[in-house]
Amino acid sequence: MKFSIVVYAAPYSSEAASTAYNFTKTLLDEGHEVYRLFFFSDGVHNASSLAITPQDETNLQKFWDALIQNHELDSVVCVTSAVKRGIINQQEAERHELAATSLLASSEIAGLGQLIDAAINSDRVVNFG
């Protein structure tokens, strides 16, 4: 079955980001398919490339990154949510003359159309916030 997963919560502040990760991992293990991951609102922080965690704690951003790469998932961060939260890619950085990027290469920035498209083309949408 084709799932899309929407994540509204940042890692570390709320358990929801971790639940979304566990859920996504399980559904892939069970042979289901991910049509799209969509990171919305504070959820965009799951795709930060700059997070550093202590060795005894989970680096959820790295977990997502590995999952996305290993399964070649389509992972999108909402543009409106991302840029105002400082999650930016090369293109946005250049456009606004910022010296850095902060988005993991495994995700791309796109609009809310990708969320609507995901809902239309998935069998199930599951929201975590």
């Binding site: 509204y8 919305f40 609102s41 409106t80 949510s81 609009g111 809310l112 159309g113 969320l115 609507i116 498209d117 809902a119 239309i120 949408v125 929201n127 916030g129």
Partner: protein, 121 residues
Amino acid sequence: MSNSHTFTFISRTAPYGSNRPQLCLDAALAAAVFEQKVNYIFMDDGVYQLVKHQDADAINSKTLGNALETLDLYGIQNVYVCTTAMKQRKLAADDLVIAAQSIGDEELKSLLENSNTVFNL
């Protein structure tokens, strides 16, 4: 893109305290742009979004009451408020910035049953 999908958006939170009302609205407008069937339901504290005479300049924010008028501009006509939420907050239809249909629990359930995707913020 297929046109047979019904989206229902439930907006349950108060304006300004969090960004959830704006997220819900943005997602609904996106669905409308994609020419999907959209229901928009104000429930719980969400009905506070509809109160007249809002002016959020002083708190460095955009006024949400005005933004809700865009629902109509984007062709979203199925706009509902939960009767219970209105009563609990002593609000009447006259207090609201846009026209919305009052619904009880049974109508809410039926709207949800007939939806393909529900966003609940």
